[in-house]
């Protein structure tokens, strides 16, 4: 059962690598494969929901010798999220006509990487899957192959390579100080490690994931890349790939370095606040919608950091809920801004309301969780900050929307896109509304996941 999603994706990506992805039929095959993998992952998630954490020792070796795949609810939530985002972006691109033979294959390979890293329970194996998704993204950023895309790709590769190297150093440091690669064993061993090496390793891993997330001040690569790439790729980067950062911070921060995370909470809060304000302010007067979204992403990361700094079941639930909704928002918006027509405009509007946290759109519950956290922690300054952040998000989202309407109704309005193309983001947007009206299942699962994190991996 654990093997199924990975197997489908792996063989599927080989198949697509050998086919010409620009053909419509092959594109749909890729969509079908990803869809099957998504269903299989959800089935696995159902199983985990019922029976708790699933483990599989690769190669049948005892724990400690080989690699262990260990999937808990947190992992499955992120796996489903990433696959969903990839599926939407791929569907969008297939409808819009794929421009490169390898595009569908790369999306599938990225799905392999993202799914693998949420499934694995081994630190080094995490790195390997991480690299699988990174290397696919390095190529995907070039998609479109214009000067702008190559520039974006180069920036993206340079900066993220630096991040990856730092992460690798961190992993090696963990191994050296604990003697294990299995995350559960590392967790048991970590309290015995001296404070100094532990905090140094933790810092470098934190930097590595912050680079992926685009946290201030590690975000400088992000705007160029998100604006430079094609919208579908930008959706993938912000909706799926950036989740590595959050997931990694949860896995490594909460699971392995809880002591260090607590010690660093002040730094996290400061960086988070800076990110919220900086990203928000930057987003306000940007004209290109993609750039608004890029800076908005930087701002949103700040909320995740703050929630992470508070930790606890409530804080972690807020982190996960926020990342899930943020990913969906960004996917809806990136796919929405690139299409034209009333469906796409409606999707953008819904996405904008979601970012601003207006019910009955899903984003509201992300904001709710944050306010809840801040109020229950009795942090008036934080309440103020979240308020200011949401004011700014109102401003930039609706300035963007206003500009879009102005362009669409203006004299040189862009041609209306295919209905089916607009429908992709619109469907997701409707999903956001459904989440906003009936968030119970999602919140329930996320709270269970967060509880399992704070109470130990084994339920």
């Amino acid at each position: 059962m654990i093997a199924l999603p990975l197997g489908i994706l792996m063989f599927g990506s080989i198949l697509l690598a050998l086919l010409d992805g620009t053909r419509k039929r092959n594109g749909w095959i890729a969509v079908a494969i990803l869809g099957c993998a998504l269903i299989a992952t959800m089935r696995l998630g159902w199983h985990i929901y019922d029976h708790g954490v699933q483990e599989m020792a690769v190669g049948g070796w005892d724990q400690g010798i080989g690699i262990v795949l260990r999937i808990d609810l947190v992992g499955i939530v992120f796996a489903v999220l990433c696959q969903l985002v990839l599926l939407s972006a791929l569907t969008y691109e297939v409808i819009a006509d794929v421009g490169a033979r390898v595009f569908p294959a790369l999306v599938l390979f990225m799905a392999v990487g993202l799914t693998g890293l949420t499934f694995t329970g081994d630190a080094f194996n995490f790195y390997v899957f991480f690299e699988i998704s990174m290397i696919s993204s390095y190529i995907l950023v070039n998609y479109g192959e214009s000067a702008r895309q190559f520039r974006a790709a180069f920036v993206f590769i340079t900066v993220n390579l630096l991040g990856s190297v730092l992460f690798l150093i961190g992993i090696a440091g963990i191994y050296h100080t604990t003697g294990f690669l299995d995350m559960v064993r590392i967790r048991e061993q970590m309290p015995l490690v001296q404070e100094n090496p532990a905090i140094l390793t933790a810092t470098i891993i934190f930097v590595a994931f912050s680079v992926k997330l685009g946290l201030f001040p590690f975000h400088f690569w992000l705007p160029t890349v998100y604006t430079g790439t094609r919208p579908a790729v930008a959706a993938i980067l912000s909706g799926a790939l950036a989740n590595i950062g959050t997931y990694g911070l949860i896995r490594f921060g909460v699971d392995i370095f809880p002591r260090e995370l607590e010690a660093a909470s002040a730094v996290l809060i400061i960086l988070g606040c800076a990110s919220i304000v900086y990203g928000g302010v930057q987003a306000v007067s940007r004209h290109a919608p993609a750039e608004v979204l890029a800076y908005s992403a930087i701002g949103q990361v700040g909320y995740i950091m703050i929630a992470l700094a508070f930790g606890g079941t409530v804080g972690l639930a807020a982190v996960i809920l926020y990342s899930v909704l943020n990913s969906l928002n960004k996917t809806v918006l990136f796919l929405g801004i690139s299409a034209h027509g009333w469906l796409a405009t409606a999707a953008v509007a819904i996405g904008a309301f979601s970012v601003a946290g207006v019910p009955p759109v899903g984003g509201f519950f992300a904001k709710y969780a944050l306010f809840d956290l801040a109020i229950s922690e009795r942090e008036p300054v934080l309440v103020m900050l979240i308020f200011v952040g949401s004011v700014i998000s109102f401003v930039y989202m609706f300035q963007m929307y206003r500009r879009r309407i102005a362009i669409d109704t203006g004299p040189d309005a862009p041609p209306v896109s295919k209905q089916s193309l607009q429908a992709v983001s619109f469907t997701l947007a409707i999903g956001l509304i459904v989440i906003g009206l009936f968030p119970e299942p999602l919140i329930h699962v996320i709270q269970m996941a967060a509880a399992s994190l704070t109470q130990g991996v084994a339920p």
Binding site: V128, F154, L168
Partner: protein, 145 residues
Amino acid sequence: MTLVFSLAIASLFAAGAYLMLKRDLIRLIAGMIMIGNAANLFIMASALRRGTAAILPHDGDDMADPLTQAMVLTAIVISFATAALALVVVYRVYTSHLSVDLGELSLAEEEQSELDEPRSEDIVETEIEEEVEAMIDEALAEVPT
């Protein structure tokens, strides 16, 4: 040896970082490769024990940590793949800009961003000014009827 290894790793990393700050994209790639080398050396240095090759049958000596070796093999291969890819992207940057100079890339980026956004200050200001002026005009133009 710990200090020696740390110094070596740090030096290689610093050299790589220095190269990554150059204008020339080829040098930048060289910097990436060098930083990768530093990381690999770090993995090797993080072995739990050092000794002779981990090949059986093994005589009494300490055997080198085989796990870090396996890890470093994977890491070497991955950094090789990344470097190859980065080189190709440099080539494509060259074919699209006819330059491998970062300065020119930055120029192109500036141009692009200027293309994307006219200074919003002007626009918002005029928008607002117009709106306010219109209201005021209306207020003043009205005479009692």
